[in-house]
């Protein structure tokens, strides 16, 4: 049957969940294979937590090194996120994340308890900033996409966490759509990309809060969606709850103004870049999103929510 979406695959990969829907049942098996293969390959090259990943094994001597086509695409996506946001999203925050205690898979971090006690989180100064936290800045990374040459400066740890996930959602959706002709939705850990024909009425997208409640259901008609949260990927460092979105300007987790921000973009990469930047910007986020005409729904830590003009108002329950 063509038209109504069917679930092609649901599985866990790269530390999160993946769900693939297609509008043509005959495309489901192929769609599942594409998604599983793509995420397996991504984990192998871009994981920050695998000792054998290409990302971890990169030289950090400031000299050009040739990287694989897949890592090259991931790097390009991460640097594009930095350009889109004027550096509010920065792939060189990896060292700061480690300094704040996020130095391994999150479940392992939590299992270790307070990271200052574990010795991984530097003792913070009076402002709450660990002694070593620093962000070299995305402009310190030199990269030539044509030759796939990447130069990582000494002391720089790259982290493509969010942008790589969004990039993967975009790539997988596009590939399934191109190879099968089916309408495709890829939900990769909350980053949603679509390709091909839209089902009647549009893709139904739920915006979920950290507690699991669906705040709103919206219709996807060609947009991609991403949500950044300060409430879920958290751990304890120096007896304070920390979250994973580093403000590159301070080297510390961004001030918690918003519980979460959801943005619609032309791609999941753009949506994710904007939602992450909004968390970093805090109170300045609404104006920044409006200036870029990005539809967005923002939920404050006080429970109040607001949306930009391109985002449908929430209906009374």
């Amino acid at each position: 049957m063509r038209g109504l979406p069917v679930i092609a695959a649901e599985f866990r990969a790269i530390g999160t969940s993946c769900r693939v829907l297609v509008t043509d049942r005959a495309a489901a098996a192929r769609a599942a294979r594409i998604a599983q293969g793509a995420l397996g390959a991504l984990d192998q090259v871009a994981s920050r937590f695998r000792a054998d990943s290409e990302l971890v094994r990169l030289r950090k001597d400031g000299l050009p090194q040739r990287i694989s086509p897949l890592l090259s695409a991931v790097v390009a996506a991460g640097l594009r996120a930095a350009r889109l946001t004027d550096g509010l999203v920065d792939p060189t925050v990896g060292g700061a994340l480690i300094d704040w205690g996020y130095d391994r898979d999150l479940e392992e971090v939590r299992a270790l308890g307070d990271r200052s006690a574990a010795g991984s989180c530097s003792a913070p100064d009076a402002r709450g900033v660990p002694a070593r936290a620093s962000v070299p800045g995305w402009r310190s990374v030199r990269y030539d996409e044509t030759l796939r040459l990447l130069a990582v400066p000494p002391g720089c740890t790259l982290d493509f966490g969010a942008s790589a996930k969004a990039f993967a959602a975009d790539q997988i959706a596009a590939r399934i759509g191109a190879e099968t002709g089916a309408g495709t939705l890829v939900d990769l850990g909350g980053d949603i990309a679509t390709a091909g024909p839209t089902p009647p009425g549009g893709w139904r997208i739920g915006v979920q809060s950290a507690t699991g409640d669906v705040l709103q259901t919206v219709l996807g008609t060609g947009q991609a969606f991403a949500t950044s949260s300060t409430q879920l990927r958290t751990w304890s460092c120096a007896a304070v709850r920390r979250h994973h979105i580093i403000d590159p300007r301070s080297g510390a987790p961004a001030e918690v103004v918003w519980a979460q921000v959801t943005v619609a973009g032309s791609t999941a990469l753009e949506a994710n870049s904007a939602s992450t930047a909004a968390i970093v910007l805090g109170r300045e986020a609404p104006g920044w999103l409006v200036a870029r005409a990005l539809p967005a729904l923002l939920l404050g830590v006080d429970g109040a929510w607001r949306h930009t003009s391109g985002w449908a108002g929430r209906e009374a329950a």
Partner: protein
């Protein structure tokens, strides 16, 4: 002007590749700086090609401009997001991870 710039870039790309192969990076690094200096097609409000902009982005920007896209460094416009109403299932769930 454009063909000259492209020839210059191709030349520096070749130098960078050869340099990397021959010296493990030193000459390649030099070529990278040369590429930066030759990158006159990169608008001044963009970071230099050697620091971040993917090579070839200039060629892309021309076609994107024709299609109405804002280019590699700007967010593309998206249609407004409509409500899906209350109730009913969802195909995907956007959430923080």
């Amino acid at each position: 002007m454009i063909p000259i710039v492209r020839r210059t870039r191709n030349l520096t790309m070749t130098g960078m590749a050869v340099g990397t192969l021959l010296t493990g990076g030193l000459v390649g690094q030099l070529a990278l700086h040369q590429h930066n200096a030759a990158g006159t097609t990169v608008p001044t409000d963009r970071p230099s090609a050697s620091t971040s902009a993917p090579a070839g982005s200039q060629e892309q920007s021309g076609s994107e401009a024709q299609s109405g896209s804002k280019g590699d460094d700007s967010f593309n416009q998206v249609p407004p997001v409509q409500s899906g109403g209350n109730g009913g299932g969802v195909d995907g769930t956007t959430r923080g991870s």
